[in-house]
Subunit: 414 residues, 2 copies
């Protein structure tokens, strides 16, 4: 047997990030065949029709005109006070729940998901996620000796599968007496699904029913990384208001990210925002996350926090920023519409898309499908249950034609 230096829990297979590997292959194809002949739908970042990363002007003008010291100085461990005051306003918009709200800065949304999983589960516990999931939920869980159980996101009518959610939710909660479940909505990665307000009511009714047992502890993490690209106006923020006046053994944690909404993927900023009817539980959350911040990355990227607060404080800048985001959202909407229409015309089955960066195509052997599609110069990420097509990364024109190519390949191999 090989000699290990790492501890048992920290030994991991030699696996590199599959998406970056595929993106590198796409780049090779572009160099060889030309941009116009390749569809690169790998990375989850917003690019324009020429294939260039979209970087909001309002954001980068702010960064580049900021005094050096505002970038250089350490931020406070929990985050800068004005950032922590601003971030719930940005996240909830008009729909701030009537509750005790505390925020802690984290590197992107990942950091807040990490805090939620590590601080709110016991070793060996299972978290609950949908069967179409963002794979780092698994990475975080296994890093800390936690497991993940999945429910079926969709029923046979392609609606949110409340039955499956309820079954797994109660099964785990009865066993563990505490449950962290992550709902990646609105604009789910990888499906583009968004829970409707009625579906949120059902989820909360289930939670409230189970909260009647005072020994049950229910933690619902709302991973809303893509919220700025969801719905028309503020409609996809309405559900936040439903978190008012919940029983104290239901805690909501919003995992907020600046990566997409501010096009600052590489700046690593976001926040964990707790919503509780109980002040003591909100305080407990704050000090637990504060400890975790100090113990993992010390403090967050100061410049990113400054950018948010400087824009938020200035109505003119806010207006310009919002206009830029709206434009990007419209572009995304057109691309997704083109893909959905193309899929219909080609007879390609896709999952119900409502918002955001991705559309998913269920298929039996996704790895094989992705490999075959490479031969067609179409690069798409293979998931467990299907393919993830990133409309955020592909022009409207190509979104129109991609479904027929995918359909042809799936027909050939299935």
């Amino acid at each position: 047997m090989a000699f290990n230096m790492v501890a048992g829990h920290a030994k991991w297979p030699k696996v590199n990030d599959a998406i970056f590997g595929l993106a590198a292959k796409a780049k090779e194809a572009i160099d060889k065949y030309g941009k116009e002949n390749v569809i690169d739908s790998t990375l989850g970042a917003l690019v324009d029709d020429k294939g260039d990363l979209i970087c909001l002007n309002t954001v980068y003008q702010e960064l580049k005109s900021m005094p050096d010291a505002a970038i250089a100085a350490y931020a406070q461990v929990a985050g800068q006070p004005d950032f922590l005051e601003t971030v719930p306003n940005i996240c909830f918009g008009k729909y701030r729940p009537d509750a005790h709200i505390r925020a802690v800065a984290t590197p992107g949304g990942t950091g807040s998901v990490r805090h939620s999983i590590y601080n709110y589960t016991e070793p060996g516990d299972s978290i609950l996620i949908s069967d179409w999931f963002w794979s780092p939920y698994i990475t975080i869980s296994e890093e800390y000796g936690r497991k993940a159980t999945t429910f079926e996101l969709f029923n046979s009518k392609n609606e949110f599968n409340m039955e499956s959610f309820k079954e797994k939710f109660e099964e785990l909660l009865n066993k563990q007496k505490r449950l962290v479940t992550i709902l990646n909505t609105p604009a789910n990665n990888p499906t583009g699904y968004s829970l409707s307000d009625e579906e949120w009511d059902e989820v909360l009714n289930l939670a409230k029913e189970n909260a009647k047992d005072p020994e049950n502890r229910i933690i619902i993490v709302v991973d809303c990384a893509y919220i700025d690209y969801a719905g028309i106006g503020d409609e996809r923020r309405k559900f936040f208001a439903k978190f008012s006046g919940l029983p104290k053994n239901i805690l909501i944690i919003a995992a907020f990210s600046m990566s997409k909404g501010y096009t600052m993927y590489g700046m690593r900023s976001g926040a964990a925002i707790c919503i509780s009817s109980d002040e003591e539980i909100a305080e407990e959350f704050y000090y637990s996350c504060l400890h975790s911040n100090r113990a993992n990355w010390s403090n967050g990227t100061r410049a990113a926090m400054e950018i948010m607060t400087r824009i938020a404080k200035d109505p003119e800048k806010t207006k310009a920023y919002e206009a830029e985001v709206k434009e990007a959202k419209m572009m995304l909407r057109k691309r997704a519409d083109a893909f959905v229409k193309g899929a219909k015309e080609a007879g390609l089955e896709i999952l119900p898309y409502r918002d955001g960066f991705f559309v998913s195509i269920p298929c039996k052997d996704a790895k094989k499908a992705s490999d075959e599609l490479i031969k067609e110069n179409l690069f798409v990420v293979a998931l467990k249950k299907g393919l993830r097509f990133a409309v955020c990364a592909v022009s409207e024109e190509k979104c129109k034609t991609a479904p027929a190519i995918i359909k042809k390949v799936l027909d050939r191999i299935e």
Copy 2:
């Protein structure tokens, strides 16, 4: 008993960062009595004689002239390939050890200390640190259910206490069969001590002696966050060359930080760099840290990595950058000399200072001493075993006069 939502291991006291609290009080005093009448020695960042944070021009010009997309894009999970290639050169200088070297980007040095502790200890293990320590070593250990044992950093002659180090080292290793020990050198925080090359030989001889038992696993973390402000020229990097050809059950991890050397505290960048004679163990380190990156913060601050590689690639920029760092180092040296001389003249006992941002003053009741010094408008951080005076934050003039003020207060209260 209060109702908790967090899991047992994640419940922490409501304690805010003491240093930030003290810094806020210093700011109040400055507003009230004027800058010239207050000595604010709280924060661990380099400020000029006017009290302004030093931000290296070469660094911030690079950031502000960089294309937005180089800042906005996600970095790879392990870090950008050119950064990972450059960072060992920057860290080791001319003294690169002959060994298998792998690097992974982390947020500041904290992230790499986190990876070292979490991935290389078993739950319940104790790490070994000196009795003058940077407090996050404790925070990280307790976050993960690890303990910390201290050895005495100095013997009665104020030299590195090899006897105490050996005793605790062997005691823990015999019990645990694996040991992570952190040596914060050169330019130790809080004492300013740097292990001499001869002391390093003794440390490595002890490790090699104990490595003869093939079941022992020895991990030495070199926290070198302040290395750029240590010694004359490259002399304080020489010890890195000693890590060539070690037995395979001794692993060295350098916790490298860009916070101080690049004056980018708030940008959160650094690296964990492993040094092993065994390729397989270096690979294991890489994939273990890669998993931990993904599971905690996903990826690092892209712009900071870009800044390092862009400067390193360009000889002119490198020259300008090094000149700026050298100037800051000379300023620091003059301040420390003034403090050490002032202490001698005032008869104030201090720990042996060699390099870096801080000087420490041993005393019985540090909290009381710090409180009393506030009344003298001198703000200094209380540690377990004494006071930490930040020469990085105080002008040469004030470094000269501070020791007598401290001496007077200590005489009064002790």
